[in-house]
Every structure is written in C-alpha cells, then in structure tokens.
Symmetry: C2
Subunit: 282 residues, 2 copies
C-alpha cells in the first residue's frame, strides 16, 4: 500500500502539551500582561480540565523560561530586562551560527534544501511588511531563524532555540520597533540565504551577528525608554517629578527579580522536549 507510509505519525498529543502550546501562544501573542499572573486554578476552570494537566503545562513553560515560579506563590510571566535581551541575543548568536556551520558542513544537498525552505519563508515577508502587520512580521522573522536552526538537523540546537524564539517574540510584541528597521528585514534575510548557498561560513556568521546586533540594539533602546516612562509613571503622579533624565541606569525596580547571577541554585532546567511549535493561534 504505497502512499500511506508516513502517516502513522499522528500520535495524539497529551493534554498537558496542548495546554502548554496554547498558553505559549497566548503569552507570545501578548494576551498576557508582562508582569504577573497565571493561577492554575483559573486556567483549569477556563479550559474545563482539572488542575493536574494545567499544572504540568505550567511547569513545562516554567522550565522553558517563559514563566517563573515562586514557591507557594504561583507562576508569573517572564518580565524582560535589558540584561535578558542581551542574554537572549548572545545565546541566539551561539545557536544560530552553530546551526549555520552545520548546514554548510553537511554538503551541497543540505545547503540547497535549507536555502529553498528559507527562501519560501522570505517570500512571504514583503506582504506582511507592506501591510505593516507587525505581529506577522515577527512571526515570519522567527520562523526563518527557526527553520535555519532546524535545517541543521541538530535536535538539541532546535530544542534550545524554541525557548529563545519565544522570548524573542515576547520582546518583539511588547516593544514597538522603529519602522525603518522593518524594511531592511527582507534584504537582510535574503543576504543570509545568499551567503548560505555560497557556503561562506564566515560571512554568514557575520551576517547573523550583525542582523541580531542591530535588532537587539533597537530593542534595548526602546525597552529602556519604556522603562523610564514606566518609572516616571510611578514616581511622578504624586510626589514631585524629579528630573527623569538622571542616567541610563534602568533597573532597581525592587530587589525582587534575581535574574542577576549565573546559576540559580536549585532548579535550572531545560526547555521543551516533544513538539515543535506549530499550531496556529486560536
């Protein structure tokens, strides 16, 4: 019976994964406020399921890094600081350049195949840009990079990238980016494809680094401005509005979020295990 070789792969997903995917989409869509939220009881009630699967999904997302959980207090959606942006950028650079090297090292066939898939994604980009559909642009942008990593055939790199992509998406959605940058996206991505087919590893690395460095700079700038405004909002309304131009130092909200040091003692764990992203939003 030819024709149905590879359809045994439908394998229904466990509910927890479905919930996790759904919540992930809502988080990166901006449906959740950045600060804090997400009580498992509420989710369970809304989805008409017990707290068990919801709890599992929440814990999964916590390990992906999209949610942070405080003991006996609940889980809260990740709040991104400029430091986080820098971390994400460094990590993405590492993963993506490694993926690029792997593809190029895998031979012409792999390179062509990857280039084809990437090109297909880039072709969709101009429409979204023209429509100024920022959400769509962000999605396509991330999909491009995800496809790049996936093309390396390295499941570890892909798994790592899922989290980074989600975090990047949060950035993109929650801080508005200058519109002139958006017009360069098509060109930049096309250049990466060209360098890939040319098997120019050095150039491709440089392009990736450059691409993300500029994006990150923009992001950080917008974010810092946002934080300044936010802080001014808190201090100004009542007391005397002090000179808000003091410096570029952003942080010091309250000594709460310990995103600082390297290895947090207990539960530093690891991202996703099963599915790739995929399902459309709802």
């Amino acid at each position: 019976m030819p024709g149905l070789d590879d359809l045994a792969a439908l394998e229904e997903r466990p509910t927890a994964v479905l919930i996790a995917n759904r919540l992930r989409n809502r988080i990166i869509n901006g449906s959740f406020e950045l600060g804090e939220q997400v009580t498992e009881a509420a989710i369970a009630a809304k989805l008409k399921v017990s707290r068990g699967p919801v709890r599992e999904a929440l814990q999964r997302l916590s390990q992906e890094g999209l949610l942070v959980g405080h003991r006996n207090r609940g889980v809260f959606v990740l709040e991104l600081t400029p430091k986080d942006v820098h971390e994400i950028y460094v990590a993405r650079r590492a993963v993506e350049t490694a993926a690029a090297s792997e593809i190029i090292g895998a031979g012409d066939k792999a390179v062509r195949q990857a280039a084809r898939k990437l090109a297909a994604l880039v072709r969709k980009l101009p429409d979204a840009v023209a429509a100024r559909d920022w959400s769509k642009v962000a999605e396509l942008d991330l999909k491009f990079h995800e496809a790049l990593v996936a093309a390396s055939g390295n499941s570890r790199l892909s798994r790592m990238f899922v989290t980074l992509a989600a975090e990047s998406r949060i950035c993109m959605v929650h801080v508005k980016i200058s519109y002139r940058r958006i017009d360069m996206l098509v060109e930049e991505h096309q250049q990466m494809i060209d360098l890939l087919v040319a098997k120019d590893a050095e150039g491709l690395h440089a392009a990736i680094v450059n691409h993300m460095e500029t994006a990150t700079a923009d992001l950080t700038e917008s974010m810092e401005e946002m934080l300044r405004l936010q802080e001014a909002d808190v201090t100004a309304p009542d007391a005397e509005a002090e000179a808000p131009s003091t410096n570029g130092q952003t942080p010091s909200r309250d000594g709460k979020t310990p995103a600082g040091a390297a290895a947090t003692p207990d539960a530093v764990s690891k991202p996703d295990a099963a599915a790739v992203p995929a399902p459309a939003s709802a």
Copy 2:
C-alpha cells in the same frame, strides 16, 4: 547587619525538584540501565511519596532530555547513539565558545575571577586521575566546563548547558575511555585557563573545539565498538537466552539498589551537590 545579605536564598525546594535531582544523579551515575525503565509508581513507592511529585519530576527530566516519554507507555532513560554524541558536541561547542567570548568581553576582573574558580577545579583533577577514579574525573571535567559557562553570567547559556552536561556525563560513564586520554585532561584544561587569562578568544575557541573534538572522536569510536559487540550478542547466542534489550523489565523491586534505607547518600534533606547546582561559596 552586613554580611548576610544574600542568604535568603535557601528557599526550600519543592519535592518534585528534590526527586528530579536525585533521579538525575542516579541516571548520570549509571545506576539506571541505558535502555528503558522508570515507572513512576515504582519510584513513588520507593520514595514514599505520591505519584504526583514523581510524575512532575519525571516530566521535568523528560524536558531536560535525560528521559524520553512515550505516550501511555512510560518514560525511558535516554539511549545515546553516535548521532547524539555529535549533536551534543556541536551544541556544547556553541555554548562554551559563546560563554568564553562573553567572559573575555566582560573585562579583566571577570576574567580573573573566572580563572580563579576554574583553576581551583583543575587543581583537584590530578588526584582523581592518579587514582584512576573515572567517575570523579568525569565529574570534575564537567564541573570545569559548567563553571566556565556559569562564569559568563548568562543564565540562558547555563540552563542550556545543564542538559548537555548531563548527557555528556552519561556518555562518559557508560563508555569506557582510553586511559591515555585521561592524562591529557589536566594539561588541556590548564591550557584553556591560560588562554582565558591571556584574553585570547581565538585561541580559547580553538582549544575548546579541539578539546571536545578529540574527546568526541574517542567517545564515538568506543561507542560504535560497543554497539557492534552488543549487536553480535543478540545475533550470536542461538535461540533465546534472555531477551534483555527490548523488554527486560528489570525488576525494580529488588534488582535496584534498595535506596530506601540502605547505603548511598540519599538524604532527602540534602540539596544534592553533584553536578547541577554549583552552590557558589560554601
């Protein structure tokens, strides 16, 4: 009261994390067979807790990649193929070189601080090597690399590395490595430190790549030989000797070390101090 600023970090861990740490240690220690095992009911019974936390811990490890879960079938400990080794190697190379760059880019102070910690680890190595304590060597080796990544101050890189380190550890423990390689470890690691303090990013990258490439080559070789033998084992012994591979179902009841009350450092109160947390000062 100066001096006790940051000790509010003791924050009791949820039981699921304790269980996860414990299981992780047993996995990377080689206490679990490579093929398949791990029924949550058995673990729960042995640890005298309900299945809930155990399930959570298992799922956590699944997401770390140490266990793979089949729907409605259970979770099984990861079985490493040569392809996996390659993937791990590529990913580690990406993460560690990125970490190295970050440290060097962070300035002299950070470099010196990192070098000090790394040197302390390397100093312990010769003893283990002399004693031919392979497990200890593996532990120190991984601790070195983990410290390197942690020194970058990038929590994302650290999180990524946890899984890779655990997987690497599995490799090291389960395949015996040539003893001549072991003698080079001290030298190689020391060289990395030297390059770090010299702030020679290029050289350090090369050293890392070289260090892991040779190790990986060795590992792959040993592993392929192992697989050959294993395959011969299945085909050679005539009819049915045991059928150990596919369903073995090793009696978890008595076949395993009765961790319940017997030896081994299984103290629930102890926060586990093997490979993961790196509790900084102490």
